[in-house]
């Protein structure tokens, strides 16, 4: 499964990228799986996406929870809690 991954704000800066295409192994089917897979990259990925850290995610531009199922071509965004207004 290939996904477009987007990162914003603090995470964009720390990850050193705002956008990537990721080819995921077959065992990744939910948002929780994806985050787990990203943590496997170690370093800032493991640190920023660790249990207990506050982050939010959207799938195809709708807010999504850990159980959200991912599909080929989805746009998945991971970002800090929002602070607009």
């Amino acid at each position: 499964m290939t996904l477009t991954l987007l990162y914003f704000a603090r995470l964009r800066e720390l990850f050193g990228t705002g956008r990537e295409q990721a080819d995921l192994p077959a065992e990744v089917s939910t948002l929780a799986d994806l985050v787990d897979w990203l943590r496997g990259r170690g370093g800032v990925w493991a640190e920023q996406l660790a249990e207990g850290r506050a982050w939010r995610a959207a799938v195809n531009q709708d807010m999504a929870g850990p159980e959200t199922v991912l599909n080929e071509g989805d746009e998945v965004a991971i970002f800090p809690p929002v602070t607009g207004g």
Binding site: A9, F79, V82, G84
Partner: protein, 161 residues
């Protein structure tokens, strides 16, 4: 309904007038302007930079406005949020709601702001003398948004213009 995300300033007069000039049923316009505060009272904040998620931001704002229009009898809504670099005392966001009576205009305006603060993908970065710093989310904003869940749907419906 108008939703815009833009770098340019907006004209409060023009935006608010557009809500009531064309519709003689409008008796009330409640509006909110969020301003870039200089939290250090002049000692440090040089600018605020606002980042957003193009596409999703507009969708989220439109959804928030539709939810407000389902809860209260609104006549029109405008939300404009600026992005990019903003100086202290510059407006960041405008939410303006037109209705026949004031109760629903106030309630919907506050509802939209509370939801915008927690569900619209914007992020603020302060630039001070020491460098850039991303603003942390406030728990009080989650609390403010949460109070609209549950039994408060009728809030603002029983009052006059």
């Amino acid at each position: 309904m108008k939703v815009a995300v833009q770098t340019e300033p907006f004209d409060l007069n023009a935006e608010v007038a557009a809500l009531y000039r064309a519709n003689p049923k409008v008796g009330a316009v409640a509006s909110f302007l969020g301003i870039t505060r200089d939290v250090n009272a002049g000692q440090g904040l040089a600018a605020m930079t606002l980042e957003h998620y193009p596409g999703m931001t507009e969708r989220a704002l439109e959804r928030i406005c539709r939810e407000a229009a389902e809860r209260w009898p609104l006549l029109d809504v405008t939300v404009i949020h600026r992005v990019g670099e903003l100086k202290p005392t510059e407006p960041i966001v405008l939410v303006a709601v037109a209705a026949a009576h004031r109760g629903e205009a106030f309630a919907a305006c506050e509802f939209i702001m509370d939801y915008l603060k927690t569900r619209a993908p914007f992020w603020k970065k302060e630039t001070t003398a020491e460098g850039g710093k991303w603003v942390d989310a406030r728990e009080s904003d989650e609390t403010a948004a949460a109070r609209w869940s549950g039994s408060s749907q009728d809030r603002g419906n029983s009052r006059g213009s």
